[in-house]
Symmetry: C2
C-alpha cells in the first residue's frame, strides 16, 4: 500500500424526506445564492421543497447552469455573488451544478485578475466560499469531494480544478429524487460511477486488499441494481444503493494508498469538448480500447476484476482479463450506452490526432498510473475506439 493522506469533512444527510433539513445546515444570517440547472427541479418538486426549507432565509436564485458547466455562464453568477454580497452557495442539481458551484466558491474568494487561471494554472483552493448541495442526480460524486471540471466554450477546453477548501459543507442525498430522472441520465450516472471506480482500481497491485475489495463492492452493487434502476417503476431501495454507490465511487476513499489511472477521463473530456457527447458516454467509448491497448500493464488486475466482479473463474490470466473487458462493454451496452465513437458522430477522422495534439500542447506527455501513456499512445487508443 502506498503512503496516503485522507480527510473528507463533508456531512452527508442521506434518506427519504431529508431536504427539509437544509435549514439546520445553513447559517441563519447567510445571504444565499441558490444555483440550479435547466429548471427540471421546478417540475419535479425539489425546488418547492428547497424553497419551503429556506422560507426564513435571504435567498437569491441563479438558474441555467448547463451540463459541462460553462465558464461564461459562471462568470454571470460570479457577478451576482459580488453585487449581492452573497455569503453562502447552495447547489441544487447534479454534478454539473455542483461543479459550477465549486468554481464559484473558489472564484468568489480568488484574488487574481482572471478567474480562468484557477483552471489553466492549476490553482489549488484552500479556502472557498462555504457551500452545501442538494443532489438531484447520482453520478459524479461531486457532492462529497473537492474537485470540479469546468468547460470554456470559446476555446473548447474542459479542465479540472480542486483543493481542500472545496468540499461541500453538507450534501443532502434523498433517493426519492431518482424517481423523476430520465432513463438516459440514469444510464449515464451508472456508467459514470462505474468508470470512476475502474479508474481508481484498474492499474497494478500494491497489495491494498481493502481498497481493491471496496472498489469491487461498488462495481458489484452497480451491476446488481442497474436493471432495477432502468425499469419504469421507481424502486426506493435500488435508488438508495445507486445514490450511495455513486458517492462512494468518488469521495476519495478508494483511491487512497493505490495508483490511479484517469486516462479514460482525460481523453473522454476531449470528446465532450469537441463534440458535446455526454460525459459518461465518452468514458464508455474509451474504456475498452484503453484496456486493450494497455493490456499487458493491466491484465493482472483485469483478471482479478473478472474473477471477483464477473465470476469468471475459468482460463488463464489473459483469458480472464479479456473476458472481463468483454463483460464491461456488454454492461455498458445493457444500459443502452454505445461504446464506439462512430456510434455518436459520423465525421470522426482526425479526432485521435487532434486530441494527441492538445495533450502535447498542454504538456500532458504521460498519462495513466505509470505516466507512460504518451500523446502518440493516446492517439492509438482513440483510433481503436472509432
Amino acid at each position: 500500500m502506498n503512503n496516503f493522506e485522507f480527510k473528507n469533512p463533508t456531512k452527508i444527510i442521506f434518506g427519504k424526506d431529508t431536504i427539509k433539513k437544509l435549514k439546520e445546515e445553513i447559517p441563519t444570517d447567510a445571504k444565499v445564492l441558490l444555483l440550479y440547472g435547466g429548471g427540471s427541479i421546478k417540475k419535479n418538486g425539489i425546488y418547492n421543497q428547497v424553497k419551503t426549507a429556506l422560507a426564513n432565509f435571504d435567498v437569491i436564485e441563479f438558474g441555467g447552469i448547463s451540463a459541462n458547466p460553462e465558464y461564461e455562464t459562471l462568470l454571470e453568477a460570479l457577478k451576482v455573488i459580488k453585487v449581492q454580497n452573497i455569503t453562502y452557495l447552495l447547489a441544487v442539481g447534479g454534478g454539473s451544478v455542483i461543479d459550477g458551484t465549486k468554481f464559484l466558491s473558489a472564484a468568489a474568494l480568488y484574488t487574481g485578475n482572471e478567474p480562468w487561471h484557477i483552471l489553466s494554472n492549476g490553482v489549488r483552493t484552500e479556502k472557498g466560499m462555504p457551500f452545501g448541495t442538494v443532489l438531484t442526480l447520482p453520478a459524479t460524486g461531486s457532492e462529497m469531494n473537492s474537485g470540479a471540471v469546468i468547460t470554456r466554450k470559446e476555446t473548447k477546453e474542459k479542465l479540472a480544478m480542486g483543493g481542500s477548501g472545496l468540499f461541500p459543507q453538507f450534501s443532502i442525498l434523498d433517493p426519492e429524487v431518482v424517481k423523476s430522472i430520465p432513463k438516459r441520465q440514469l444510464a449515464n450516472g451508472l456508467t459514470d460511477a462505474f468508470t470512476h471506480v475502474l479508474e481508481q482500481y484498474m492499474t497494478y497491485s500494491v497489495d491494498a486488499k481493502l481498497q481493491d475489495r471496496f472498489a469491487e463492492s461498488i462495481l458489484q452493487t452497480l451491476i446488481e441494481i442497474a436493471p432495477t434502476i432502468l425499469k419504469a417503476e421507481f424502486d426506493y431501495k435500488a435508488a438508495s444503493n445507486f445514490m450511495w454507490s455513486c458517492t462512494m465511487a468518488l469521495n476519495g476513499l478508494i483511491q487512497k494508498g493505490v495508483p490511479t489511472d484517469w486516462a479514460i477521463h482525460a481523453i473522454g473530456h476531449e470528446l465532450t469538448a469537441l463534440y458535446g457527447i455526454d460525459h459518461a458516454r465518452t468514458l464508455a467509448i474509451i474504456t475498452e480500447s484503453h484496456y486493450k491497448y494497455n493490456f499487458e500493464a493491466k491484465k493482472e488486475k483485469l483478471a482479478q476484476y473478472g474473477e471477483r466482479v464477473w465470476n469468471i473463474n475459468e482460463g488463464s490470466i489473459d483469458e480472464k482479463a479479456n473476458a472481463a473487458i468483454e463483460k464491461t462493454t456488454a454492461f455498458f451496452k445493457s444500459l443502452g450506452i454505445n461504446t464506439k465513437l462512430s456510434d455518436y458522430i459520423n465525421d470522426y477522422e482526425g479526432t485521435a490526432e487532434e486530441i494527441a495534439k492538445r495533450f502535447t500542447n498542454r504538456g500532458w506527455l504521460g498519462l495513466g498510473e505509470h505516466q507512460s501513456l504518451s500523446p502518440e499512445k493516446v492517439k492509438q487508443v482513440v483510433k481503436m475506439a472509432y
Copy 2:
C-alpha cells in the same frame, strides 16, 4: 437502507515514516500534553520519533494510561491540563490511550461539577479540547471515531461516551509500529476489529448492499492477513492492510444506514470490568453464544456471511448459518483466542446473573438491533458462554 447522517472530519496520515509529519499538524503556539501508556513507546523507538518531531513545541508528558483507561488516572491528567494551561492533547498509543485522551478532551472543557457525569449521564461532547493521535496498536478504530470507553475501578464500571466534538483532528498511522507489538496484542487487535464489523453487520437486511459488501470486505481482509500478522517476521504489506482494516472497521462508515447490534460489546465490557479479561477476548467469548441464542433473528445474515466471507455454498440457510458460526469460532481459535469463559476463569458461577442484574439496574432492558435482548436473555447468552 435506513436514513443516516455521516460526517468524519479526522485527517488520516498513513504510511511509512509519517510520524515526523506531527509537526505540521499541531499549532506552533500550542502547549501540548503528550499522553501515553505503560512506556513501551520508549522501548520501540516511537517516543523518540515523536519527541524529535515535536522538538520545537512546548510539551509536557503524562504516561501510565493503562488498558481499559481508568477514571482515577485520567483525573490526574486532567489536573495537569488545568494547572499547566494545556491547549492541545496528543495521544501516542492504542485505543486505551486514545480513549483516555478523548475523555480528557471532553472533561477539559466540561462545565459540570463531576467529570464522571459525562459517562454516567451520557453527556454528548459537541466541543472538546483539540487533539491528535499517533496510533501504536491497530485494533479499536478510536483513531478515526468520536467514541471512547472509560473504566472506573472503584465501582467496577465500564461506560461509553462520545460526541461530534471528539474526533481526532489528525491520526498518524505508520504500519511500521506493528513490528514491535507482542503477538498476544496482535491477536487481540484482529479479534477486536473483526467483532466490530460483526456488530454492525450481523443483524437483519435492510438491502444496504454497499454497507454489507464493505463489511464483508473488511472481514475477508482480516481473515486473509491474520496468519501473516501472527508470524514471527514482520510484513509491511500485511501490517498496512491490518492497520487500515482496523480503522475502517469502526470509523462510522459501515454502520450508516443499517441496524447495529453491539450486545456482544455490552456484555463483553462487563466481563472485563468483573474479571479483567482482555477486551477482545471477552468479545470472542460472547460471539458464538450470542449468535446461537439469537439464531432465528440473525440466520439470514449469518448465511450470507457464510457464503460471501467463508465460501460456504452448500446447504440450507440454517446449515450455512451454523457453519458460519463454527468458522468464526475456529478463526478466533486460530489466533490463539479461547472462546469460553471457563477458559479464562475458574469461578464463573453467578456471572450471568450478576451481568443481568447490572443491566437491569442500569435500565438496559433491551439490547441488540431489535432492542429485544432483555437482561433475562442476556443471562442465557452468558450461561451458554461458560
